[in-house]
């Protein structure tokens, strides 16, 4: 009995140490990656290729999701606001929700699922098939050649994707509100113009998406680089990427919102 409790204690201790070790490895890894990003200036081709696979190929799901989120928001907020005769505020409600919260957060969650998991799987498979150590053997630094372009591409793509998401969402809301529900298109645009602030709302939304992009891509490339090089380990690493990035995004969203908008 006594021994069992000690085992439990040891188990907790080992678990904690392992977590901190991972965190430390992750931080050192991040430092290496950021240093490696500097060498991309001389090789922009690598970055562009990754921008294509991380950014451009995520664009479709972002556009479709943005369109439908905007349209649903318009329908639902119309339903709630029409009781107060305030249905003209649908535009401002959708625009503010998208710019402040939904744009950055949903984009980041989709990004983690679509691009983050792909990054982890790709890098993990390179590790499992010993391509990374092969590169090191040939005196090519995989940090600079493989990890840094992927990290930078994810970091740069996120704010672009989030901006597109918000813009498409507002257009979707416009279609529903003005074409289907028959609201006045003048009121739809003029209310946001009075209420939405370029700095407070749009820039803060972009800052959010920059932070999310940084964290989601960091987690994705680290999980790939740090995975157990077996097919099972690779699967677990990919799952962890999606779960950890999503949790980190939601938590950071709360912190950033509290810092930016709480008064």
């Amino acid at each position: 009995m006594f021994n069992g409790r000690l085992d439990l204690l040891q188990h907790i201790g080992a678990n904690t140490l392992q977590r901190f070790r991972r965190l430390g490895r992750g931080s050192l890894f991040l430092f290496d990656v950021v240093v490696g990003c500097a060498s991309l200036i001389s090789r922009p081709g690598l970055l562009i290729k990754q921008l294509y696979s991380v950014g451009v190929q995520t664009l479709l799901i972002i556009v479709v999701a943005g369109l439908f989120v905007g349209m649903v928001m318009a329908l639902q907020s119309y339903y709630a606001l029409v009781d107060f005769g305030a249905e003209d505020s649908v535009g401002v409600m959708v625009a503010l929700s998208l710019l402040r919260e939904l744009g950055p957060v949903i984009t980041a969650l989709l990004f983690a699922g679509r691009a983050g998991s792909a990054l982890t799987a790709e890098i993990g498979l390179m590790k499992a098939t010993e391509q990374l150590s092969g590169m090191e053997m040939m005196a090519v630094n995989p940090m600079k050649r493989i990890i840094a372009p992927r990290f930078l591409a994810g970091f740069l793509s996120m704010p672009l994707l989030a901006t597109i998401f918000s813009a498409v969402g507002v257009m979707g809301a416009y279609v529903v509100a003005v074409e289907f529900l028959g609201l006045d298109s003048g009121a739809f645009w003029s209310q946001p113009q009075n209420k939405v602030d370029l700095y407070l709302d749009i820039y803060n939304g972009i800052i959010k998406s920059v932070v999310f992009g940084f964290v989601a891509t960091w987690i994705a490339v680290f999980e790939g680089y740090d995975c157990v090089p077996t097919s099972e380990g690779l699967g677990q690493a990919t799952t962890r990427t999606v779960v950890h990035s999503s949790l980190a995004i939601l938590f950071l969203d709360f912190v950033l919102t509290a810092l930016m908008f709480a008064k």
């Binding site: 290729k49 921008l51 950014g55 664009l59 901006t163 813009a167 946001p192 113009q193 370029l198 709302d201």
Partner: protein, 154 residues
């Protein structure tokens, strides 16, 4: 896929994002109302500003002519001092112009409305408008209503 095609797609992606930002900035946010034009400042003193906020619009005859830049409490006069930026296009307000705090719609936001007076002299930058009408505060209206009710019954 050739590298030319990939580069073109990435270029398209970046351009699309910039277009999206531009669209949001111009047609959704208040960017367009940060008019690059010249403004001049007027100050109005109110007994009570109600729910008036910085950046609320200032209008004359229903047309937006400027916005509020600052609201301060003046502890010497016990009044609220509201600073406004007015577009220089609209520089012909007589000195006896009245400013009142109005509400757009039943529950809408509050704004300052100008009613031009009849004097020949015009307001200049930094002038103070003294003819003001405060915001309607619901509690006060209900209070007045109850008093007048009580008076009627006597």
């Amino acid at each position: 896929m050739t590298s030319r095609k990939i580069e073109m797609m990435v270029g398209l992606f970046v351009v699309a994002a910039m277009a999206a930002f531009f669209m949001l900035a111009m047609s959704v946010s208040n960017m367009s109302s940060y008019s690059g034009g010249e403004n001049y400042e007027l100050i109005a003193r109110f007994d009570n500003v109600g729910g008036l906020k910085v950046r609320s619009p200032v209008s004359a005859a229903g047309v937006k002519i400027g916005r509020i830049t600052d609201i301060q409490y003046n502890s010497d006069t016990y009044e609220a001092e509201v600073s406004m930026e007015i577009d220089v296009k609209y520089d012909k307000f007589p000195v006896d112009t009245a400013a009142s705090i109005l509400t757009s719609g039943l529950l809408g936001e509050q704004y300052v409305g100008f009613e031009p007076g009849a004097e020949d002299e015009y307001l200049k930058a930094g002038d103070v408008i003294d003819l003001t009408q405060s915001a309607l505060v619901l509690e006060q209206i209900i209070g007045q209503f109850l008093y007048s009710k009580a008076d009627d019954e006597e």
